[in-house]
Homo-oligomer: 380 residues x 2
């Protein structure tokens, strides 16, 4: 039985008949521009770039980011790290604190498999003891960062004193290597105004700098200072706090970023490269059509869902249940749209969008040139 | 590498060490009660029961619903139908209008594979012509329902005259068999007050009855009248409009249904059987812990997310990004919770929850007894 995604359609010039909708579409030229642009920015600022894989969850995306100049890949889950390591992606960082014997065993297996190994983050003394014991049992030495809370109140240590205490505890363990700190301000990435975002990020970086100073004074200077996202990349690279950045959204972008002045010149710096292609399934109500993309194809979080092409002027998308969406427009007159007609949607949040699909359909202009499995979703 | 879900843990009495979180947990006893209860209600009302697979997307759930007395299974997508047919599930109904050569070819392949075949719905003359041509080419005869819009303004025909016209067009095609009508009022399922919901459903059923009368008068009496959901099941089975019902949520339930008087006696009629098990990953902020379930593990739509067990009194969950959630409580004092401690969450919407996971971890009281793959997600 035919089931999308269907590798047989690769190379087809007729996307319409070949790819079942709803389908996740990657505009390869925009994607290439985006990964080249971020790599250029990092290189010119002489910083490392460790793109975050939590959004794409796709080894082929990571491979191309590395080829474009990234120094490694950040992962949010162990399953992402396992997927990346198995695909030969080097220099991994697990950005979430890891605890528990089963997870630590998996972490150490990734470290053994991955070229350059995997660095873990911790934010609690118990995490250090568990990781050290697991690494000792396996006869390995694991690099560790201290996760610092720079205002998100989610994970991380809250003060320099605790950070120094933890760094000393790491340094005492022969099976661990203290590598530095992570400070991620995810809550600031979406602030639209550049100056407002810059002020908030600089305050957070000042918090992180106090931790770094305390560690230096304790004789434990961080080699790695990692953090930052797509929204803050220009600010992060302009300041001197981070040795590397870990942005995630920039290859794809979404409407949550549509009005974020990422570059500081009024532009988003990166182009939208990710679309949901959907198809009209019903046309019986004036001024609207029903399409086959609902809450399981287009996430409900993030920015407003935007109809990029294929429908009348000023069209608006709304979710109409799990399986359907409704696209409507102000002029209720006959629209000429028929069942089977296709639209492209820009979603509100690229991370939760990729998480809904088994694969990216890669388009170079009008040609479907590849299908990249989204391998690391649905498991942890 | 170990990757959840891990079949090796089946039979383990120690869920904590065996199953990676976040994990989707099915309470098997509650699930069994739910599927038995709905089957009893349908049997006592002498109606067919064709549970909807769009939520579970899981052949094993469908198999057990059939074993409990269901007469067939409803699907929202062709990929669900293909998955069910391949698993030997009989008597399928595709509840979404289907159009386009590639899809129709797949539909007809499902019809050939499936014991009892698959019934399609249409809401437009063009759909009839396409389906008839595809069935003729394949030398098959496909059963067809007319989808009737009973107030949701999403799919379906809007008036008896159009319905009769379409039924005649179906009857003229030798490769099609006119089987009846579908009228689904999804927008009424969540109305909490029984009387209010009953009044609205009865009005919608009256619309559907006008279509049925017109078809009878035209000499095309519907054999099948299908519709209804979990919220309206008591009302649907009490009235005489439907020959079968197609509820989807009742095996699992969720917080969107928590305050819906499904039974008309003040109760939900069905028990919550679906949980997300999550784990504490950070404890550095007073009055809260951070857990490893964010927007990719707990959907953002539907009812409020509810902490069912494992945390202090009056705990509240909020999403804290893609990968994290924060559980907080009014009393900010020391809570005794440590990293690795586990909580169970009831989500706002069972359909979008299942869609995020590769498998259901099936628990009989405290024992993990099985892992059921959620096969039909992420493809269409």
């Amino acid at each position: 039985m035919a089931a999308a995604p269907n590798p047989a359609v690769i190379g087809s010039r007729d996307l319409r008949s070949g790819v079942t909708t709803p389908a996740l579409i990657l505009d390869l030229l925009a994607f290439d521009r985006n990964i080249t642009e971020m790599a250029r920015r990092a290189r010119e600022a002489d910083r490392g770039l460790r793109p975050h894989a939590k959004g794409p969850k796709c080894p082929e995306v990571a491979r191309r980011q590395i080829a474009a100049g990234a120094s490694g890949i950040a992962c949010a889950t162990l399953f992402e790290a396992e997927t990346m390591a198995a695909a030969g992606i080097p220099n991994l960082l697990l950005t979430s604190p890891v605890i528990g014997e089963a997870r630590l065993t998996r972490l150490i297996a990734v470290d053994a498999l991955c070229d350059g190994g995997i660095i873990a983050v911790i934010d609690h003394a118990e995490g250090i003891e568990q990781l050290a014991a697991a690494a000792t049992r396996a006869g390995r030495r694991i690099g560790v960062l201290i996760d610092v809370d720079v205002g998100q109140r989610r994970t991380g240590v809250n003060d320099p004193t605790t950070a120094v205490k933890l760094a000393r505890a790491i340094a005492r363990q022969r099976s661990l290597q203290f590598r530095g700190v992570q400070g991620y301000y995810g809550h600031l990435q979406g602030l639209q105004n550049f100056t407002e975002r810059q002020t908030a990020c600089q305050a957070a970086m000042a918090d992180l700098a106090r931790v770094i100073d305390a560690l230096r004074n304790a004789g434990l200077p961080p080699q790695i200072v990692t953090g930052g996202g797509t929204g803050s990349c220009a600010i992060d690279l302009d300041a001197n706090t981070f040795t590397e950045i870990q942005p995630g959204s920039y290859p794809f972008m979404d409407t949550a970023y549509a009005n974020v002045d990422v570059a500081g010149d009024g532009s988003t710096a990166f182009d939208v490269a990710l679309f949901v292609e959907t198809e009209v399934v019903s046309t019986n109500v004036a001024g609207q059509v029903t399409v086959n993309a609902g809450m399981k194809a287009i996430p409900t979080d993030g920015g407003p869902v935007c109809v990029a092409s294929g429908s009348p002027k000023d069209s608006v998308f709304r979710h109409a249940g799990d399986e359907f969406g409704i696209i409507s427009w102000p002029d209720a007159k006959a629209h000429g749209l028929r069942a089977g007609d296709r639209m492209r949607i820009v979603t509100g949040h690229c991370d939760t969008t990729c998480n809904l699909y088994a694969a990216l359909h890669v388009m170079k202009e009008d040609d479907l040139v590849d299908v990249w499995p989204i391998t690391a979703r649905g498991r942890w």
